[in-house]
Structure formats: structure tokens, C-alpha cells
């Protein structure tokens, strides 16, 4: 069993290499202290708060950085009377 495990374990270094490449590509691309995805996040929230009162507790933001594509998911609960409050 242990012998089998020893020989069958896949290499981990390729995973390390790939993870670092994705991470560093993002970190090097970021100029100053904000990169694009962070800037988008902030501006989307700013735009929304212009039209309605955003309750911080009702906003969920998820990010997944990939080699080719990154995703930014902003999930905002909009109350029925949100528009009136901001007006």
C-alpha cells in the first residue's frame, strides 16, 4: 500500500509552477497599488451606490483569477424601495 502510494503520487512541482505563473502575471500587471480587477470592483460599487443605498452586509464579492480569464462576481441584494431612498 505504502509502496504503491510512493510510486503513484503525481508530481507536485508542475502545480506549483502553474500557480505561481498565474499569480505573478497578475501581480506584475498591477500598476501602482490597484490592478484592473480591483479597480473594476471599486467602480462597480461606486456606480451602484450612486443609484441606491448599498447595505454593505448585502453585498457579496467573489473573485477567481485565472491564467486566461478572471471572474468577478458581485452579488447585491436590492431592496424593493431602494431607489426611493437614494433619491
Amino acid at each position: 500500500m505504502n509502496l504503491f502510494r510512493f510510486f503513484s503520487r503525481p508530481q507536485s512541482a508542475p502545480a506549483a509552477r502553474e500557480r505561481l505563473q498565474v499569480l505573478l502575471a497578475h501581480e506584475r500587471a498591477s500598476t501602482g497599488d490597484v490592478d484592473l480587477i480591483n479597480k473594476l470592483r471599486d467602480e462597480i460599487l461606486k456606480a451602484i451606490s450612486k443609484h441606491m443605498q448599498v447595505d454593505d452586509e448585502k453585498v457579496t464579492i467573489k473573485m477567481e483569477r485565472g491564467a486566461q480569464v478572471s471572474t468577478l462576481a458581485v452579488d447585491i441584494e436590492i431592496p424593493f424601495d431602494a431607489g426611493k431612498k437614494a433619491a
Partner: protein, 271 residues
């Protein structure tokens, strides 16, 4: 009310981040609610060791500066439900960590989690002193090597003077975690022995983590070693350390004692 632990060492590269991830995951694997907090602003790495580097949206500095809610900055582990990460900022300066801000964040985390584990940066500057400031318990990570032991001694001095507990005249609970231990080399007299280190630092031993390729393998794939392979020697050592941390009186075994090369292949569980 949760317990606040600081994982510290003075010297860099001895295994603070690895140990924070492994201990945090081990506690969470036992069902406890755990958050691991990266205090290394500017040089964060806990996210990478935990495998969450692509999912960081907000960080500790954002929370302290009021730019994000704590709940928005916490990243839930994909493997263990009760394990969370609060990442450090990679781009901000560590001067953004204010004592008041850190106090607020730690207080909020204490209310929500059973364990708050703070991964201290190396050194004895602001980041390190803020990481230890609110701790109830300190884990001093040390390698059996002269410079690491010396720096640990310095850190123990700071734990006894610069923390809130010390300033209130209370005793800071300190534990030694000896990492990268190679029993064969210690036996040959080429490495400080456990007793040597214990005698010099004179704080109780939490565990001995053997030098092992499993630790590097785990960080390569972005998993705490207790999750990457829960039966490998370092994982078993971390699981035992966690039982001691929870108050169990468990004798410390020296891992990997007297093992041959074949023993390493066939007898991994014996470690």
C-alpha cells in the same frame, strides 16, 4: 469567545506560515471554527500556502481602513467548511496596520471563531509586534539551528514585555514548535537535539515537526500539509500538536527516529 494564537519566530523561513496553515486546518478538521490571519503586509504568503491566492478580494488593511467589511474579506476554505482566511495586503505598506484597527478586527474575530491564528511576519518590527499584541497564546516556531534559537529567545523576551497580557501583569502562555527536525542528523551530533533547544529556551514543547518532503509537496499544490496528506509524518505531528494545544496531556514523540531508507518507503506510518 475564541482564543487568539500568534505564530511567531523572529527569524524568517523557519515555518511560521506552513505551521499556521497546518495547525489552523488541523483544528478545523476537528470541527472547530478557525480563522488564520496573515499579518505579513507587503509580503503575504499564507494565501498561497492555503491555495486561496486567486480568490483574494479584500484584505486586512481594507478592513482596518474601513474600505471593506470583515465578512467580505474573509475567504472560506473550499475543503474544510469551518476554516477561513483573512489575507494580508500585498500592495499596501505595513504602516497601514494601526493598533486600534488591529484591536477592532481581532475583537470581532474572537466573537465569531473558536480560534484566531495570527501568522506573524519575520523580524521584530511593527507587523510582528502587532501580530502578537492581542494573543492569549504564543507558538514560537524554531529550527534546531543556532540563529533560529537565538532569534526565538529574543521573541520570547518581546512576548513577555510588549503584549497586552504582559502589560497587564499576566503571564503569556508560550509553546515551542520545533520544525524541520532531522532525528538522524541530531543522533549523529550534526544538529541541535530537542533537549538542547528546550534547555536554552525553557518553554514547554508543543510538538516536533520532522524535516520532510511532504511539506514542500503540500505548499506546491496549495494545501496545508494536514489536508494534503493526513497520514504523512509532518501531518501526524501537527495533529498531535493540536491535541496538546487543546489541553490534552500527550507525550511528545521524536518523529522519524532511527529509520533506514527502506523504512522511509515501507514504514511511513511509523514516523
Amino acid at each position: 469567545m475564541g482564543k487568539v494564537i500568534v505564530v511567531t519566530s523572529g527569524k524568517g523561513g523557519v515555518g511560521k506560515t506552513t505551521s499556521t496553515a497546518a495547525l489552523g486546518a488541523a483544528l478545523a478538521q476537528g470541527g472547530d471554527k478557525v480563522v488564520v490571519v496573515d499579518f505579513d503586509v507587503g509580503l503575504r504568503n499564507l494565501d498561497l500556502v492555503m491555495g486561496a491566492e486567486r480568490r483574494v478580494v479584500y484584505d486586512l488593511v481594507n478592513v482596518i481602513q474601513g474600505e471593506a467589511k470583515l465578512t467580505q474579506a474573509l475567504i472560506r476554505d473550499k475543503r474544510v467548511e469551518t476554516l477561513y482566511l483573512l489575507p494580508a495586503s500585498q500592495t499596501r505598506d505595513k504602516d497601514n496596520l494601526t493598533p486600534e484597527g488591529v484591536e477592532k478586527v481581532i475583537a470581532a474575530l474572537k466573537n465569531a471563531f473558536d480560534w484566531v491564528i495570527c501568522d506573524s511576519p519575520a523580524g521584530i518590527e511593527r507587523g510582528a509586534t502587532l501580530a502578537m499584541r492581542h494573543a492569549d497564546v504564543a507558538i514560537v516556531v524554531t529550527n534546531p539551528e543556532v540563529s533560529s534559537v537565538r532569534d526565538s529567545d529574543r521573541i520570547i523576551g518581546l512576548l513577555d514585555s510588549k503584549t497586552l497580557k504582559a502589560e497587564n501583569g499576566e503571564r503569556m502562555e508560550k509553546h515551542l514548535l520545533l520544525t524541520r527536525y532531522d532525528a538522524a542528523r541530531a543522533e549523529r551530533g550534526d544538529m541541535l537535539k530537542v533537549d538542547d533547544v528546550l534547555e536554552i529556551l525553557s518553554i514547554p514543547l508543543l510538538g516536533i515537526i520532522p524535516e520532510s518532503t511532504d511539506v514542500l509537496r503540500a505548499s506546491n499544490v496549495g494545501a496545508p500539509v494536514t489536508l494534503a496528506d493526513n497520514r504523512c509524518a509532518p501531518a501526524l505531528a501537527y495533529f498531535e500538536a493540536v491535541r496538546r494545544l487543546k489541553g490534552e496531556n500527550l507525550p511528545v514523540t521524536i518523529p522519524g527516529d532511527k529509520r533506514s531508507f527502506l523504512g522511509k518507503i515501507f514504514g511511513r506510518k511509523a514516523a
